[in-house]
């Protein structure tokens, strides 16, 4: 019942789509008022707000994690360092000013697939992946990832072998998790940049698997 009600109850719903115009208008007005007050009070500097937004829109993002993954695929000693201390290893790539402590990199293998969630809020390794996607912050993902991860993977079109162990990491503290996906087949000839292009954000959260070029 939990999974098949979408159509049948369509007409029974009160609509609370967070993106509906009313919610947007109300939130927009509220945030504008907050900004006005905080700037007038001198607690925040408007030019600094612009810089912060710029940072998240243009500086940090999944390309950081992807670069680290690709390097680990081609450089076994980097991979060992990454698994030993994710923050320190990625720091050496000089991609962002500094990676936060306790970034834990977990490696997918044919025996074990890793997935990351934060059931209590939406903790996310933003220093290596940028801001989390909406689905990561959704109640659907936060609630189901730990009890029905294969169902969640189905929502992403991912079907793992029945024998693969699924390990879900709930980010309940200030440790952060990055999945090191398996290098796809048919990538022997690819260089590091081409490999990095195969590494999607979702594959570093554990809801996707990188796909190589067709043979």
């Amino acid at each position: 019942m939990a999974h098949d009600h979408t159509d049948e109850t369509h007409h029974a719903h009160i609509h609370h789509d967070p993106d509906q115009p009313q919610e947007v208008d109300e939130a927009q007005l509220r945030v504008r008022a907050l900004e006005t007050i905080l700037v007038e009070k001198g607690y925040v500097d408007p030019a600094t707000l612009d810089s912060i937004i710029d940072y998240f829109e243009h500086r940090v993002g999944p390309h950081v994690g992807a670069k680290a993954v690709a390097r680990a695929w081609v450089d076994e000693s980097f991979k060992r360092a990454l698994l030993e201390d994710g923050a320190a290893a990625i720091q050496t790539l000089n991609l962002v000013p500094r990676i936060g402590d306790h970034l834990i990199v977990v490696e997918n293998t044919p025996m074990q697939h890793n997935m990351v969630v934060c059931t209590l809020c939406s903790c996310y390794p933003w220093d290596v992946l940028g801001l989390p996607p909406t689905w990561y912050k959704s109640a659907a993902y936060r609630s189901r990832a730990i009890i029905d991860p294969r169902g969640v993977l189905t929502d992403f079109g991912v079907a793992l072998p029945e024998s693969t162990e699924i390990r879900v990491w709930d980010s309940t503290a200030e440790t952060r998790f990055l999945v090191l996906p398996m290098r796809p087949a048919n990538t022997e000839s690819l260089g590091e940049d081409a490999l990095a292009a195969l590494v999607t954000r979702n594959s570093m959260i554990g809801t996707a698997v990188p796909v190589g070029p067709s043979a």
């Binding site: 967070p18 209590l120 730990i146």
Partner: protein
């Protein structure tokens, strides 16, 4: 606090809907809200645990109905009022009326890059951890009505210590402003069946990051 934010294991929220080529922000105000949160965090007026706690105390129907950044706005409003940095009448009016309170520091353009290092929460306490890797532990049944990071689904369940992560600031006290109270932090792994019963997926394992006061020997 046992709130709707603690949603691990709940059913009925429907399917997960990934969005192709999702933008960083869907609306301009979302970016402004994120930036306000970062800038206010820099002032030291409240810590990140108090930020989370503020969102958790929203009325449950509001929490679920609000979008992610709207929850941030509501939580920040709560903390601005609670800390006395802003008066209720100013929130109503949408502009400053009374003189500002004092904050420890204000973020300037030059601080931005530095401020984007995620905070360091480990602390050197000189204590020794009570558990070692491989130990069997039970997550305590505890139900504080204030902020905690032990999710309900794990309480009373038996798992194994998989890693010792060092001593970290305890959110339970830090959120209340009663001290960092650093505690040993462990990765504790549970079988799906320990959490969800015999009909659970036998290939499932779930770990939480658990502070020592959340655990007891089993």
């Amino acid at each position: 606090m046992n709130g709707v934010h603690d949603m691990g294991g709940m059913q009925g929220f429907g399917t997960v809907c990934p969005e192709e080529n999702e933008p960083v922000f869907h609306h301009v105000w979302e970016g402004r809200m994120l930036a306000l949160q970062r800038a206010m965090g820099f002032t030291g007026a409240w810590n990140i645990d108090a930020s989370r706690a503020a969102q958790e105390q929203l009325p449950p129907a509001d929490y679920l109905a609000a979008s992610y950044y709207k929850r941030w706005a509501l939580g920040m409003t709560f903390n601005l009022l609670r800390s006395g940095l802003v008066d209720p009448i100013e929130i109503e009016a949408g502009h400053a009326i009374s003189p500002p309170a004092k904050v420890a520091r204000v973020m300037r353009g030059t601080d931005v890059l530095r401020a984007f290092t995620r905070g360091k929460f480990s602390r050197d306490t000189g204590t020794k951890p009570s558990f070692c890797v491989g130990d069997t532990v039970r997550a305590r049944r505890m139900n504080p009505d204030t902020h905690t990071r032990l999710p309900r689904y794990a309480r009373g369940c038996v798992g194994q210590i998989e890693a010792v992560r060092g001593c970290h600031v305890l959110p339970d006290t830090n959120s209340l402003g009663t001290g960092e109270n650093p505690q040993w932090l462990y990765t504790v792994v549970f079988s799906g069946q320990a959490l969800w019963g015999q009909s659970a997926d036998p290939t499932l394992k779930v770990s939480i990051e658990a502070f020592e006061p959340y655990l007891e020997s089993a």
